[in-house]
Amino acid sequence: MNNALAVASVVVKELYRRKDFYVLFVLTAVITLLMGALNFFNDDKIVRYLKEICLLLIWISALVIAVGTSARQIPSERENRTVFPLLAKPITRGQLIAGKFLGCWLACGLALIVFYLFFGVISVSREHQLPMASYFQALWLHWWMLGVVVAMALLGSVLFAAPSSNATICLLLILGILLLGRHLNKVAVQLAEPMSTVVYVVYFAVPHLELFDVRDLVVHNWDPINWLICVGATFYAAAYAVFFLFAAWLVFRRQPLV
C-alpha cells in the first residue's frame, strides 16, 4: 500500500503540473458563463439549460482527463524508461498498477471537486437553493464511474502498445456504453435469435457506466437518490474496477519490459 501510494502521489503531481486540467476547466467555465449570459425572453431565472450544459462539459472534461492520464501512464513509463529504475526497487508490478490506478483516480477526484464547486456556484447564483445531497451523490457516483474508466484504460494500456490508439478505443467504448448501454436489452428483444443472445450477453457483461450518470436528476431538481441505491452503485463500480485492475495485473505481470 505504501508503494502504491508513493506511485499515486507522483501521478497526482504530474496531473497538476501539466496544463490539461486547467485548460479544460477554463474552457468549461468560459463556455458555461457565455451560455449563462444569453438572454431568453428577458427571463433571468432560467437555469436548467445552464446546469445541463455545465454538467455536460464537466462529463466530457472528466472523461478526457481520466482516459487521457490513465491511458498514458504505463506506456510513457516504458517509453521514457522510467519504469526501469522504479521496478529495480522493491516494488511489485501489482503495486505499480495499483499505484497508477489510485493516482489517476484520486487526481480525477480532485478535478471533479473543482468542477462541481464551479457547478454549485453557477446553480446557486441562479436558483438560490443548494440541494447538497443531490450534488454530493452526483459527484460521488461520477467519481466511482471514473474509477471504472481509469481501470479500463489501464488495462487497455498494457494490452495495446500505442497510448493514442488505446485512448481512442477506450473513449469510443465508454461513449458507446454511456449512450447505448441502458438500451441494449431493448435492442436484443427486437433482433433475430443468434444476434439477440449476443447482444444480451454484451448487455450483462459490460460495466453499465450510464447508471452513474444522474445528471437528469440533478438538472431537473429531482429528490436525492435513495442512499442504499448509491451504496449499491458504489459496489457495482468497485467490482468492475477491481476486475479490470486484476486483468491488467495478469497481463502486465509476465510482460517483458524491453
Binding site: 425572453f41 432560467i46 447508471l211 450518470d213 431537473h220 435513495n226 441505491i229
Partner: protein
C-alpha cells in the same frame, strides 16, 4: 527578445482590428437572425432542421423533467406525447392519460436498478414559473430552423399563459410570422394574444380573418390542411363577434364552421339561438364602432 515581442504586438493589433471590423457585421447577424440565418445555413446545411427538431423535443423533455422515452423506447412502446399547440387549445386535456408510463415493467435487474438513477416517473413543470425552463430550447430551435412553426406557437403559449410575458410572446410570434408569412397557425396564436391578453378585439379579428384566408390559400396550393386550427380560428372568431354583439357576423362564421365540424347539429342549435337573439333588438354593450374596424 525584442523581435518576437514585436511580432506578438503586431499580431495583437491585427486581431484587434479584425475584431472591431467584424463587430458590426456580427451585430447585424445576431440582431436579425430570423431573416439572415445564412451563416448557419452555410455551416450546418440541412442538419439544421434535424438539430432544430432535437431541441424542440428537448423542450418537451424539460417539460417532463427529463422523464422521456428514448428512441429505443419509442421503437418498442409507441410515440411520445408532445406539449404541442394542441395543449394550448385543449388546456391539459387527455395528456394525463399517458401517465401509465412508457417504461413498462423492468426487464431485468439492471433495468430495475437503473430506474432509481434517472427520472422514471411522470412529471410536469407545474409549479408557477417553472415552465420557463423549456424556453431556451425553443429559442434555439427557432434560431436553427425559423420555418418550424410549432416552435413559435408553443413558446408563445407558455410565455403568455403561464409566465405572464405577453410582450415577449407577441414579439416571438411576430418574428415567426416574418419568417413564415403564410402560417395560419402563428396568426391564430397572435390573434389570441390580441384577444385574450391585450383586449384588442379589432386586431384579433383582423388577424384571425387573415388566418382563415391563409388557411384556404394553403389548402388550395398544398392540399388539405389541418382542420383543427381552422375550426379553432372560426370558433374564436364567432365567439368574439358574439361577445361584441355582431350576430350576423357570428352566424356567418358558424355557418362556415358547420361545414366541416364533427358536430354540425350542435353548431346548428347555436346558430338558431343567435338568430333568435338577432331578431330581438338588442344594443351591443360595447361602445366601439364595429363596422369601422372591419375590413
Amino acid at each position: 527578445m525584442p523581435a518576437p515581442s514585436l511580432i506578438l504586438a503586431l499580431l495583437f493589433v491585427v486581431c484587434f482590428t479584425l475584431a472591431t471590423w467584424l463587430q458590426p457585421w456580427h451585430q447585424s447577424w445576431a440582431g436579425g437572425r430570423a431573416q439572415s440565418s445564412s451563416l448557419l445555413d452555410i455551416v450546418m446545411g440541412d442538419s439544421q432542421q434535424l438539430f432544430a427538431n432535437h431541441f424542440f423535443t428537448k423542450a418537451d423533455v424539460y417539460f417532463h423533467s427529463g422523464y422521456y422515452p428514448s428512441v429505443f423506447d419509442q421503437a418498442i412502446g409507441g410515440a411520445p406525447h408532445m406539449t404541442a399547440a394542441k395543449d394550448a387549445a385543449t388546456e391539459h386535456g387527455p395528456e394525463h392519460a399517458e401517465e401509465t408510463g412508457f417504461l413498462g415493467r423492468p426487464r431485468d435487474w439492471i433495468d430495475r436498478f437503473s430506474r432509481n438513477l434517472y427520472p422514471s416517473r411522470h412529471s410536469h413543470l407545474d409549479s408557477p414559473g417553472e415552465a420557463r425552463e423549456i424556453l431556451p430550447w425553443l429559442r434555439i430551435a427557432a434560431d436553427l430552423d425559423p420555418h418550424k412553426v410549432e416552435t413559435y406557437t408553443v413558446a408563445a403559449y407558455w410565455l403568455r399563459q403561464h409566465l405572464n410575458k405577453v410582450d415577449e410572446a407577441e414579439q416571438f410570434l411576430r418574428a415567426g410570422w416574418r419568417a413564415n408569412p403564410d402560417s395560419y397557425e402563428i396568426l391564430f396564436e397572435l390573434g389570441r394574444v390580441f384577444d385574450e391578453n391585450r383586449g384588442d378585439f379589432q386586431r384579433a379579428s383582423n388577424v384571425w380573418e387573415l388566418a382563415v384566408r391563409k388557411w384556404h390559400e394553403r389548402s388550395a396550393r398544398n392540399g388539405k390542411q389541418d382542420d383543427f386550427i381552422l375550426e379553432q380560428t372560426l370558433t374564436h372568431l364567432a365567439q368574439l363577434e358574439e361577445r361584441e354583439g355582431y350576430w350576423e357576423k357570428a352566424i356567418a362564421y358558424l355557418e362556415k364552421l358547420k361545414a366541416f365540424s364533427p358536430h354540425p347539429n350542435v353548431i346548428q342549435q347555436h346558430i338558431e339561438e343567435l338568430k333568435r337573439k338577432a331578431v330581438a333588438p338588442s344594443v351591443p354593450n360595447n361602445s366601439v364602432s364595429p363596422q369601422a374596424g372591419k375590413r
